[in-house]
């Protein structure tokens, strides 16, 4: 069990639990006992410091043969101290390697070996003491030599292991490096490596090809030089965090200049590589060329956000920008919006065709585009002839009216199209204010309403939104929105107000008056919705419905045998209906369907609708009159009437406005009123027209009118407007009276 020449042998043998050598035979039992007693004492002294994994009993058993060898060496003749060295080595091999154990080993030998192994015959105690001392010297030397051998062997073993591990790592690194090289060189994506100062050390062929930079190599440049005006705002912040070590990775879309100056768009992924201590060492950039994809995307995006015809931003982009402008809540952020609609554009389209209309729109777009003074202003086409301008940023509220003026000015000069000069007029609704108060839909609705206000005020102007006009318009707007549905839902109904012959007080017919039973607002009179129906065109179907309904009712009255006289029905005709081309045909059809002769119907037309009408416009009325339909001039006296004109009109009745007869409600009657009515009646009779008086409220009034020669009266004195049955009852009562 001497020092092993190399680690393997050392561990193959010595490192294994050392087997105790067989105890050498003692000469007698008493001597054996004494030797064991020494080994026990020796063990007790040494074991705590030995550092051996052996338990104490094991260690004690391990020490017994060593004790015996010392005992025998002490006695041997001639004396030889070398077994002491072997014992020292054996202790080391028994993993008693702690230098602190050596004094304990020697101390126990010195104190107890001579005591428990007394000298044999023929030797003095002094001689034994000297032998014991020499044995200790040899033991110490053997211990030291074995420990040195062991230490050297273990150092060599661990060094070999470290070398082997390093060699293996290097081999793996080499393999890995070769593999990485292959990836690096063969990759389709661009790979670049730079240090944390930005110095680019390696780039692969794919990257060089992407940059088209054979003349102006990327490698050797600094990452910091590769700025591009279209870099996203955060990209250099991410870069700084990465090279500082605060971030291990980032991925962005980044543009670069190619060698030829064109732009290269990349999907860039950068990873920080750290050294073993975690310090930032390199940055690895992987980039994919997405230039084509991006161009395609941009083209699609442009298509999706711009108007095909004019090339202006479209509705989608405008709303995107408006939403963004309205939500970016800086303290001094304003916005201003001009909503522009070309006055009379429909007429251009209708008269000159859509081709010209489109060319006009392109020309208008071009002029409006020229009004833009900076990136904070946007002109978009919402559709049709509607354009919109948006200003954002501080002062937008102030600048928006200037912009509106510029837009009107830009359109002032006529547009030349195919040798024609087309004047362009436009109405602009302006909405402005601080951001964060209104939503996009509200802003646009307000602008729309305000634009209509500008149109109503004559057009070719701008108006600025204010809350009151908005509110009125919105109420109107709401009713307008409900109108079409109301007709489908049967929300309209008709009341009838009797027309009474003054001469004998008999009921001769009734005026059909349309009502709207609005689900929220209750019953609405014609003045509340007829103008809306006229402005939206709904008046045509609504008028047709009233005519049909009234004709049906007249038929019903006539079918009732108990009814003494054939009752007529008066139906109001709005100016819009007058221009409706099928008016005559539809009216004839309605009468036919109801089985009514034309004289059972009287159409009431307002005076104002006929003022200035030329012969062409009067033709439908004249045709109806020729067929036998009565035509009454409603509200006579409220407009400026050219009385001479009256004879050219195909009317058979004048309906005198109530304002003329109010002075006759009491006795005595207002003499001026009496004179006027007298004059009108006289004139009417001269022209062979009958006179109907509206708004008769008292019997006195009725008497006056009868005396003045008026033919027919209508008013609360006789009956308020009511359901058709009431009229029937009235008529019966009248006959029986």
């Amino acid at each position: 069990m001497t020092g092993a020449p190399n680690g393997r042998t050392l561990y193959g043998t010595a490192a294994a639990q050392p087997s105790p050598a067989p105890e050498e035979p003692a000469r007698d039992a008493e001597e054996l006992e004494r030797t064991r007693a020494f080994a026990a004492i020796w063990c007790r002294a040494v074991h705590p410091a030995a550092g051996t994994p052996m338990t104490r009993p094991e260690f004690e058993r391990y020490l017994r043969p060593l004790a015996a060898r010392l005992r025998d060496a002490l006695r041997a003749q001639p004396f030889d101290p070398r077994p002491g060295a072997e014992v020292g080595a054996a202790l080391v091999h028994g993993h008693c390697t702690d230098p602190d154990a050596l004094p304990l080993i020697l101390g126990a030998v010195d104190a107890y070996l001579p005591l428990y192994c007394p000298p044999g015959a023929g030797r003095t105690a002094g001689e034994d003491r000297a032998r014991c001392t020499r044995l200790q010297h040899a033991l110490a030397a053997g211990f030291a030599r074995a420990l040195r051998e062991r230490t050297l062997a273990e150092q060599e073993a661990i060094s070999r292991a470290a070398l082997a591990a390093q060699a293996q790592t290097e081999q793996a690194l080499h393999t890995s490096e070769a593999r990485f090289r292959a990836v690096f060189e063969g990759a389709a994506i661009g790979v670049g490596i730079a240090d944390v100062d930005g110095h680019i050390t390696d780039v692969n062929d794919a990257l060089v090809r992407m940059f088209r930079s054979l003349d102006h190599p990327v490698a050797g440049r600094n990452v910091g030089e590769l700025v591009h005006p279209q870099d996203s705002p955060e990209v250099w912040g991410l870069y700084a965090e990465l090279v500082r070590g605060d971030r291990d990775h980032y991925r962005v879309e980044k543009p670069y200049y190619r060698g030829d100056g064109s732009v290269l768009w990349t999907d860039l992924s950068v990873t920080l590589l750290r050294d073993a201590q975690g310090r930032p060492q390199y940055q690895l950039a992987l980039m994919e060329d997405i230039t084509e994809r991006r161009l395609l995307h941009e083209r699609l995006r442009h298509q999706a956000t711009h108007d095909d015809l004019t090339g202006l931003p479209n509705r989608a982009l405008f709303f995107e920008r408006l939403d963004k402008a309205l939500e970016s809540g800086g303290a001094d952020e304003d916005f201003g919006l001009c909503y522009l609609d070309i006055d009379g554009f429909k007429a251009v389209n209708d008269s000159l065709g859509h081709g010209v209309g489109d060319q006009l729109l392109v020309a208008v777009a071009e002029r409006l585009r020229s009004c833009v003074t900076g990136p904070h202003e946007l002109i978009a086409r919402l559709g049709g002839d509607e354009f919109v301008a948006l200003i954002t940023g501080p002062g937008a509220q102030r600048d928006v009216t200037a912009l509106a003026r510029r837009m009107l000015d830009a359109l002032a000069e006529p547009v030349r199209l195919d040798g024609r000069h087309l004047s362009v007029r436009a109405s602009i609704g302006i909405v402005d204010g601080p951001v964060g108060e209104l939503g996009a839909a509200e802003v646009l609705r307000s602008a729309d309403i305000t634009m209509y206000r500008a149109k109503a005020a004559g057009g070719n102007r701008y108006e600025v939104a204010d809350a009151d006009s908005d509110a009125r318009a919105i109420a109107r707007h709401d009713l307008t929105n409900c109108l079409p549905g109301a007709l489908d839902n049967g929300e309209f109904f008709i009341e009838y107000q009797p027309l009474v012959r003054l001469a004998d007080g008999t009921v001769r017919g009734a005026e059909a008056l349309v009502r709207w039973l609005h689900p929220v607002h209750g019953v609405l009179g014609p003045d509340q919705f007829i103008p809306l129906a006229e402005s939206t065109g709904l008046i045509v179907p609504l008028g047709r419905w009233v005519l049909e309904e009234a004709a049906r009712q007249a038929r019903a009255w006539r079918n009732d045998d108990s009814c003494p006289l054939p009752l007529r029905v008066n139906v109001n005709l709005s100016p819009a209906q007058l221009r409706y081309p099928s008016l005559v045909a539809e009216t004839v059809a309605v009468l036919d369907n109801a089985g009514l002769e034309p004289s059972a119907l009287c159409l009431e037309v307002t005076e104002s609708a006929l003022i200035g009408a030329d012969e062409e416009e009067l033709r439908p009325l004249r045709q109806l009159a020729d067929l036998g339909v009565d035509i009454a001039l409603d509200d006579f006296g409220t407009g400026y009437s050219n009385l001479s004109y009256l004879r050219r009109l195909p009317v058979s009745t004048l309906k005198l406005d109530r304002s003329f007869t109010r002075g006759m409600q009491c006795a005595p009657a207002d003499p001026v009123d009496v004179k006027i009515v007298e004059g009108i009646v006289s004139l009417a009779h001269t022209l062979d027209l009958s006179v109907t008086v509206e708004g008769v409220e008292t019997g006195t009034q009725a008497d006056h009118l009868r005396i003045l020669g008026c033919e027919t009266a209508q008013g609360w004195y006789y009956a308020r407007p009511g359901p058709p049955e009431r009229l029937h009852a009235l008529s019966l009562a009248d006959a029986s009276s």
Binding site: P53, T97, T169, A172
Partner: protein
């Protein structure tokens, strides 16, 4: 075995101390370099009784391996085996039963190479380079797969290794993964450093942990309950989870000091236990 690209390992930096070589130094070995000894000396300056703790740990290992063999378990999977010093598992086990088979696992490439050298010629013992944090790598290695052949119980040794896994490393998940691969009747032999009722004053414990933190192998001592959690799915054999020196101490004779030696409390610096998988 899982197919993975053989990326180069982290380079071996011999200027960094290694826990395996420090451990060897505590035990009086010379399989270490000056950087290791310097780290060990710093730790020992904080708590001079560290070698005794390591000896108590080694003594438990020896008793537990003998117990396993006595229970008929002769297959050993020693994870975190470190530098093979005297009194290794294969020596103890093969002495008790020459048919014993041992697979050592460590993630320190130097320890692995050293083990390879020591075990050359021993066809019943081998070493695998793998990390306890990736139990699938361990289970996927051919020697371990072979060792874990169904039907033969295995002693899984996690001796003085789990305290090098932080909670973020999910040590319970790693142990559970290994447990699930063990045949029924297998044993878990485990020691774990603790500061609960241990011999070190808190400041000393703090300084010792500081040394390990500095060398990049932070030490995560755990309470008895947390250590007991590792035995989920095992039934602890008598005397349960106890201080290292209290686990089936061998008869060292009347009046003998505890295996911790001069400092009788060294064994309390770690909990030791053996569990059996039902």
């Amino acid at each position: 075995m899982t197919e993975r690209p053989a990326w180069a390992p982290q380079g071996i930096d011999l200027s960094m101390p290694s826990v395996s070589r420090i451990y060897d130094y505590y035990l009086g070995g010379s399989h270490n370099f000056e950087v290791d000894r310097e780290a060990a000396r710093q730790a020992m300056a904080a708590y001079p009784g560290l070698p005794k703790i390591m000896q108590a740990n080694r003594a438990f290992l020896r008793r537990a391996v003998r117990f396993a063999v006595a229970e008929g378990v002769t297959r050993f999977l020693d994870i975190g085996s470190g530098i093979p010093t005297f009194g290794n598992v294969h020596e103890i086990a093969q002495r008790a039963d020459p048919r014993s088979r041992v697979v050592y696992v460590d993630h320190d490439p130097v320890a692995v190479e050293h083990s390879r050298a020591v075990l050359a010629g021993n066809d019943r013992a081998t070493v695998v380079a793998a990390d306890l944090r990736s139990p699938d790598d361990i289970l996927g290695s051919p020697p371990v797969a072979e060792l874990l052949a169904p039907g033969r119980p295995v002693a899984l040794l996690l001796v003085a290794v789990l305290h090098f896994l932080q909670d973020a490393d999910e040590p319970r998940k790693a142990v559970a993964g290994l447990r699930d691969a063990l045949p029924s009747g297998s044993l878990l032999i485990l020691t774990h450093a603790t500061e609960q009722d241990g011999p070190m004053r808190p400041e000393a414990g703090e300084r010792v942990r500081g040394v390990y933190q500095a060398i990049g192998s932070p030490l995560c001592t755990r309470s008895r309950d947390r250590v007991a959690d590792f035995f989920e799915g095992f039934t602890l054999v008598e005397p349960g989870l106890v201080p290292m020196d209290a686990w089936r101490p061998e008869d060292d004779g009347p009046g003998a000091p505890a295996p911790g030696g001069m400092d009788g409390r060294a064994g309390a610096a770690g909990f030791a236990g053996v569990g059996r998988k039902p």
